[in-house]
C-alpha cells in the first residue's frame, strides 16, 4: 500500500516527535489507515530514529494493532468475565457463523473484521457487541443477525 508520508508525519509531529508516544502514534496511524501498513511502520521508525524492529515489535506485541488490512466495519465481541458468565462465547460463535470468519479475520468482501476484546468496562450490560464503536448491550445469539443486518444494509446503500 502506498503511504502518504505527510499524514504519518503530521501524526508524529502532533506528539512532538517523541519516542515515549510510540503507542499513541501507532494508534492514531491505525485509525487513519484501519491497520498498520509496512510503509507506516518504516516511516514512524525513521522519524523517531528507532530501529524498525522495535516499532515492528511494539506493533505485533500489542493486541490493538493489526498488520493486515481490516474491513469496513469493525466488530468487537467483549470476552470479559462478566460477559463470559452471561453467555458471550455463544454470542461470539453466532457472530462467527453470521460473518463466516474466525476471530481476527476479515470477510472476503472486506466488509467486516471480527475481533475480540478482553473487557470494555461496561460489564453491567454484558454480553456486549461493538460495531464501529457503537455499543450493543445484553446481546443474545438470537439478536446477532438483526444487529449485523443494519451494517450490511448500510454497505449496500453506498
Amino acid at each position: 500500500m502506498e503511504v502518504d508520508f505527510k499524514r504519518v508525519d503530521a501524526i508524529v509531529d502532533s506528539y512532538g516527535c517523541n519516542r515515549d508516544s510510540l503507542i499513541s502514534i501507532l494508534q492514531d496511524a491505525q485509525s487513519e489507515y484501519r491497520y498498520l501498513p509496512e510503509g507506516v511502520i518504516r516511516r514512524v521508525a525513521s522519524r523517531l530514529r528507532l530501529p524498525i524492529i522495535q516499532v515492528y515489535g511494539v506493533a505485533t506485541f500489542f493486541k490493538a494493532f493489526s498488520l493486515k488490512p481490516r474491513g469496513e466495519h469493525l466488530v468487537h465481541v467483549c470476552l470479559g468475565t462478566a460477559c463470559h458468565v452471561r453467555g458471550a462465547p455463544a454470542v461470539l460463535d453466532e457472530v462467527k457463523r453470521q460473518l463466516g470468519v474466525e476471530t481476527g479475520e476479515t470477510s472476503k468482501d472486506m466488509r467486516f473484521t471480527l475481533e475480540t476484546v478482553n473487557c470494555l468496562g461496561a460489564c453491567a450490560l454484558g454480553p456486549i457487541l461493538v460495531v464501529d464503536g457503537n455499543y450493543q448491550g445484553q446481546m443474545r445469539p438470537g439478536k446477532v443477525k438483526s444487529v449485523l443486518k443494519q451494517y450490511r444494509k448500510g454497505a449496500e446503500g453506498n
Binding site: R19, D20, S21, L22, I23, S24, L26, Q27, L48, L50, Q54, G57, V58, F61, F62, K63, A64, F65, L79, G80, T81, A82, C83, H84, V85, R86, G87, A90, D93, E94, R97, V117, N118, C119, L120, G121, A122, C123, A124, L125, G126, I128, G133, Y135, Q136, G137, R140, P141, G142
Partner: protein
Amino acid sequence: MNKLKSAAELERLRKKIVSQRDPKRTCVVTSVGTCGLARGAAGVAQAIAAELNKDGLKDTVDFRTTGCHGFCEIEPVVVIYPQRIVYQHVTPADVPEILSETVAKGKVIDRLLYTDPASGRKIIYEQDIPFYGKQYRLLTDSIRFIDPHNLDDYIALGGYSALSKALFDMHPEEALDEISKSGLRGRGGAGYPTFRKWEAMRSAPSYDGIRYVICNADEGDPGAYMDRSLLEGNPHNIIEGMIIGAHTMGSHDGYVYVRNEYPLAVQNLGIALEQAREYGFLGKNILGSGFDFDIKISRGGGAFICGESTALMASLEGHIGEPRQKHIHTAMKGLYGRPTDLNNVETWANVPLIINRGAKWYTKIGTEGSKGTKIFSLVGKINNTGLVEVPMGITLREMVYDIGGGIPDGKKFKAVQTGGPSGGCIPESLLDLSVDFDRLNEAGSMMGSGGMIVMDENTCMVDMARYFVKFLTEESCGKCVPCREGLDRMLDLLNAVTEGKGKKADIDLLEELGGVIKEASLCGLGGTAPNPVLSTLRYFRDEYKAHVVDKRCPAGVCKALIKFTVDAVNCTGCRVCAKECPEGAITGEKKKLHVIDQEKCVKCGLCRDLCKFDAVLVS
C-alpha cells in the same frame, strides 16, 4: 480564564462559583458514562437539551450531564433535583413528558420509576434505592454533581482545596506522614502501603533530579471498571491527587497510562488536563507556589501485562511491554532509569480526601489492616449490577444480597469471583467473609482492582478456570518459561477436562503445575495465574470430579458434555428454532413436537435462546 496565582484567588473563585448557584433550583441530570451511552443515554441527553430550548425552560431549569452514578442496571437514568426524583430506562420519547409533568408540575411519572425486586416497591427518590443503602460513597458520590467537562463543578465541591493545603500549609514531609498514618494501601490489586512507595521514591537519588509519578489506569482485569468510571466522571480528583503526590515526592513530570479501550476516559481526562493548565493547577508555578508539574496521557495497546509496573514503564518508553525482575524497585530506577512512583487511579483519588480531612478521620473507616472504602464492580449473575463503594470490612453476603439484591430468576448462588485473573472463586460457605485485603488473601483469592463477578448454579467452575487460564495464556508476555509453557500445559489439561477427555490424575497434575508456576514465575502475572484453578480446586473439587469421572457438567455449560432436547410439554411447534438452526438439526411440522438430531447438533444454543416457550432443555 486567567491563571490562579494564589490560594486566596482559588478561594475567591470558589466563593464566586458557589454564590452563583442556587441549590434549590431545579436541575435535570443525566449520566452519560460508557454504560449509559451503551444504552442510549446520548439520545436522552440530546432530547433534554432540545426540549429545554423549545419550552423556554432554559432560564429556570439547569441541565447537567455527568459520569456514571453507579447503578448501571437502570441506565439511562434521569434525576431531577433538588428532590432527587429518579427515572430509569428513559428513552428520548419520555423526555417531553418528564419536563412537562415532573419538572414543570412536580408530578411523578409512575411507569418510569424503579421497582425494587426484593420488595416489589416502586421507588421515587434516588437516595431510597436499596442498592445505595449500605454503600459509603466517599469517592463516587461527587460524580453526580460534576459535569466532567466543567472544572467549576469540581471547584464548587471544594476541588483543589487539598492541593492548596498541601502546597501552602504543609511541608511535603507532613503530607507523607498523613498518607502514612492513613494506612492507605494500593487499590490496584496487591494492597502495598502507598506511603512506602512514596517514601522510597522521595529518598531515592536521581542524578539529574528527574523523577516521575504515574497513574496506572491500565485497568486490565476483565469485569472491573471503577477506574474507568472515576476517570470519566471526576478526572480532576485524580489530577489533584497526582499533583499532591508529585509535590510530596519532588517530581515535575507525570503520566497517566490509560487503556485505549476506554475512549471516553481518554477524552474526558484530556479535556480536564487542558482546563487544569488553563486555571493554573498544572504547568509552571502552580497557584503561585513556585512548584512546577505537568501530566501527559499515554494510551495503552491492549496488553493485560502492562498493568504490571515494570512492563507499563517499558511500554511508556516505547518498548514492548515485558516486565523485568524487581531486585531494584521502580521507586529507585523506573521510567528512563529515574525514580518513579506508580499508583492506581483509585489510590490517587483517595489522596485529596486524606489530605483534606486528615488521617485520623480516614482511619475510622475500614478494618484494622485495610482502611477507607473500596469500589467494586458488582457484575455477573446478580440483580443490581453496578459500581458499589463500601467501607472495607463489609461482608460478601451484604454485598451480594443487600446491595446486589440477590441472584436473578430465583437461581441459586454458587460463588463470587474476586481479583480478576489473579484472584479466585469464593464459595457460599464463605459468604460471611469480611471484604478486606488480608481476609480475601487467606481465602485463596485477592482484592485485585475490585471486580466482583457473581456466579449462579448455571456457571461451570471448571469452565471459569479454563476461561481465566486461556485469558492468561494469551496475555502472558512469553518472557519466562514457567508462565509461558506452564499455563499452556494447564490450558491443555483444562480443555481435556471440559471436553470429557480428562483423567483423574489430571486434577492432581493441575494442582502440582499450579504450585510450580506460582513459585517460579518472574512477575505477578505468572505468580498469581494459577489462582483461579487452585481456588476452584479447593472449593469445587466435586465439579472437576464430575467432569472426569462421570463425564458430566453439572452446570450444563461444557458443550462436549451436554445435550439439547425439546420439551414435549412446552413445545408449541412454532418452527422458529427449526428455521434458524444453522445446522438444520431440528425437524418437526407446524404445531407438532420438534426433535433435535443429536448427530447434527453443534450445541450453539441458538434454539434455546430463540424459543419463547422455554421448550429447549439442556441436560
